[in-house]
C-alpha cells in the first residue's frame, strides 16, 4: 500500500483555502441582490455544484469510451469515481435550487425542464450503480458499466431538449434569457467575480475528490485480490 502522495496533501490544503476564500466572497464581498435579498447568494454555489455534476458525468462518459477502446481497468475506476461524485453534486444542485425556489417561486419543486432533466439524470446514474451491483465478474461489470454510461450521457441532452419544448421558468443568468423566467437578475462586476471564483474553487474540489476516490478504488481492488489469494489457502 502506497502512502498518501505529498502532492495530494498540498492539493487538499489548497482546496480548503480556496473554499474558505470563496465562502468569504459569497457572504461578504458579493453585494446583496436588490429584489431577492440574501437568498440569491445560494446562486454562486448552486451553479458551481451543477457544473461539477456535469463535469463528472462528462468525465464518466469519456472514461467509458476509453475503457471500451483499451480494456484498461484504470478507466473503469475513473468512471465509477466520476459517477459517484456526479450523483452527490447533482443532488446538491437540486437541493440548493429548492432552497432558492421556496421564497422565489413559492414552491420547493416544479416540473420545470431543468429540474426534470436533473432528476432523470440522477436516476440514470443510480441505475448505473445498480447495474454494477448486479454483476460479479469485474471485467463484465466494467464493460457493461462503460456501455451504460455512454448511453446515459447521450440521452441526457435529448431529455433536456424534450423537456425544453415545454415552457421553462428557470432563469438563465448567463446568455440570453427566455421570456417568462421567474427570479431573473443581472450580475454586477462583484457578483461576476464571486461567481467565477466559486466555479474555480469547485473545479478544484472536483479534482481533489476524484484523486481521493481513485486512490480508494485502487485499494479496493487490491483488497479484492488479496481476498482471492487468501481464499485459495483456506
Amino acid at each position: 500500500m502506497q502512502p498518501k502522495p505529498k502532492a495530494l496533501t498540498y492539493l487538499d490544503i489548497f482546496t480548503v483555502i480556496l473554499f474558505l476564500i470563496s465562502l468569504g466572497l459569497v457572504f461578504f464581498y458579493a453585494p446583496m441582490e436588490a429584489v431577492m435579498g440574501n437568498v440569491q447568494r445560494v446562486f454562486y454555489y448552486h451553479v458551481a455544484v451543477g457544473w461539477v455534476g456535469m463535469l463528472s458525468f462528462l468525465a464518466a462518459a469519456i472514461a467509458g469510451i476509453l475503457y471500451l477502446r483499451s480494456k484498461d481497468r484504470k478507466w473503469d475506476r475513473v468512471a465509477v469515481a466520476a459517477v459517484e461524485i456526479g450523483i452527490v453534486f447533482t443532488f446538491l444542485n437540486i437541493v440548493t435550487g429548492s432552497i432558492w425556489a421556496r421564497p422565489i417561486w413559492n414552491t420547493w419543486w416544479t416540473w420545470d425542464p431543468r429540474l426534470t432533466t436533473a432528476t432523470i439524470m440522477e436516476l440514470i446514474y443510480f441505475a448505473y450503480l445498480m447495474l454494477r451491483q448486479g454483476i460479479e465478474d469485474p471485467e463484465r461489470r466494467a464493460r457493461f458499466g462503460a456501455v451504460y454510461v455512454i448511453l446515459g450521457f447521450i440521452s441526457v441532452p435529448l431529455t433536456f431538449f424534450s423537456a425544453r419544448l415545454f415552457r421553462t421558468i428557470h432563469p438563465v443568468v448567463i446568455g440570453t434569457n427566455q421570456p417568462g423566467a421567474e427570479g431573473q437578475f443581472d450580475m454586477t462586476p462583484k457578483m461576476v467575480q464571486t461567481f467565477l471564483f466559486s466555479l474555480f474553487t469547485f473545479t478544484f474540489v472536483f479534482i481533489d475528490l476524484m484523486w481521493h476516490r481513485l486512490r480508494l478504488g485502487k485499494f479496493a481492488e487490491q483488497v479484492e485480490q488479496l481476498k482471492l489469494k487468501f481464499s485459495q489457502y483456506t
Partner: protein, 223 residues
C-alpha cells in the same frame, strides 16, 4: 448480403419459436389489457378525461408490456443456451442485434395492433389516423432499439428481471415524452406546426440510439 441473410435468419427463428409457443405475445397482450383495465378504474376514463389522457394511457401500457416482452425474449435465449449458439455463428454480431431488435419490434407492434382496435371499441375513440399510427411505429422502434441492447445486458446480471425497467425507463424518457405528445397532438387534431418538433425528436432519438446500439452491441455479448 450475408449480413441481411443472418438478420433475417434470426428474425425467422424468433417468429417460428413464437408461433409454436405463443408465450410472449399472449403474456404481453393479457398484461396490456389488464393495465388498461386498471387505468379505467384509476383514472375514471369518462368521455371528458379520455380525450386528454388516451395517449398517456396507451404509451404507459406499451412501455410496460414492451419491457415484459424484452425481458422474456432475451431470457429465453439465455436460459436454453441459445445465445451461445448464436454467438458461435460466423456472422457479424450486429446482425444478431438487428435480428433480435426487429423480432421484438414485430411482437410489440403485433400487441399494439390488437390493443389499439380494442381500445377504440371499448372507449369509442377513433385511433385510426395515419399520423398517429406512424408515431406508434416510431416510438416503438426507439423503445425497442434501446430495450434490446439493455435486455441483452440485464439477462447476464444477477437481478435481471428487476433491472431492465430501472435501466430502460430513464433512458427511454425522451422517446416516451415525444410519443405521448405527438400522439396526443394527432388525436386532438392539433395543427401540424405543434406536432413537428416532437416528430423530429422521435426521429433523432431513433437514429442516434440505433446507431449507438449498433456500435456497442459487440461489447455486450463478448465473452
Amino acid at each position: 448480403m450475408t449480413f441481411l441473410r443472418a438478420t433475417l435468419a434470426v428474425i425467422a427463428k424468433d417468429l417460428a419459436g413464437e408461433l409454436r409457443s405463443r408465450e410472449l405475445i399472449s403474456a404481453m397482450l393479457v398484461f396490456s389489457l389488464l393495465v388498461i383495465l386498471i387505468f379505467n378504474f384509476a383514472l375514471e376514463l369518462d368521455v371528458k378525461t379520455r380525450s386528454t389522457v388516451t395517449a398517456g394511457v396507451l404509451w404507459v401500457t406499451f412501455a410496460f408490456a414492451g419491457s415484459l416482452g424484452l425481458n422474456r425474449s432475451m431470457a429465453m435465449e439465455k436460459d436454453r443456451g441459445c445465445i451461445d449458439g448464436l454467438l458461435l455463428a460466423p456472422v457479424d454480431r450486429s446482425a444478431i442485434y438487428f435480428g433480435k431488435m426487429i423480432g421484438n419490434l414485430f411482437f410489440m407492434l403485433l400487441v399494439e395492433a390488437i390493443v389499439l382496435p380494442l381500445y377504440s371499441i371499448l372507449y369509442n375513440t377513433n385511433l385510426f389516423q395515419l399520423g398517429f399510427l406512424g408515431v406508434v411505429f416510431l416510438g416503438s422502434l426507439g423503445y425497442v432499439a434501446v430495450g434490446t441492447l439493455l435486455a441483452t445486458m440485464t439477462v447476464q446480471t444477477r437481478t435481471r428481471d428487476v433491472l431492465l425497467p430501472i435501466l430502460l425507463f430513464p433512458l427511454a424518457i425522451p422517446v416516451l415524452i415525444a410519443s405521448v405528445k405527438a400522439s396526443m397532438g394527432y388525436l386532438q387534431g392539433i395543427e401540424m406546426e405543434a406536432i413537428r418538433p416532437w416528430l423530429n425528436l422521435l426521429l433523432v432519438y431513433d437514429i442516434v440510439f440505433i446507431a449507438v446500439a449498433f456500435m456497442v452491441f459487440d461489447f455486450v455479448v463478448e465473452e
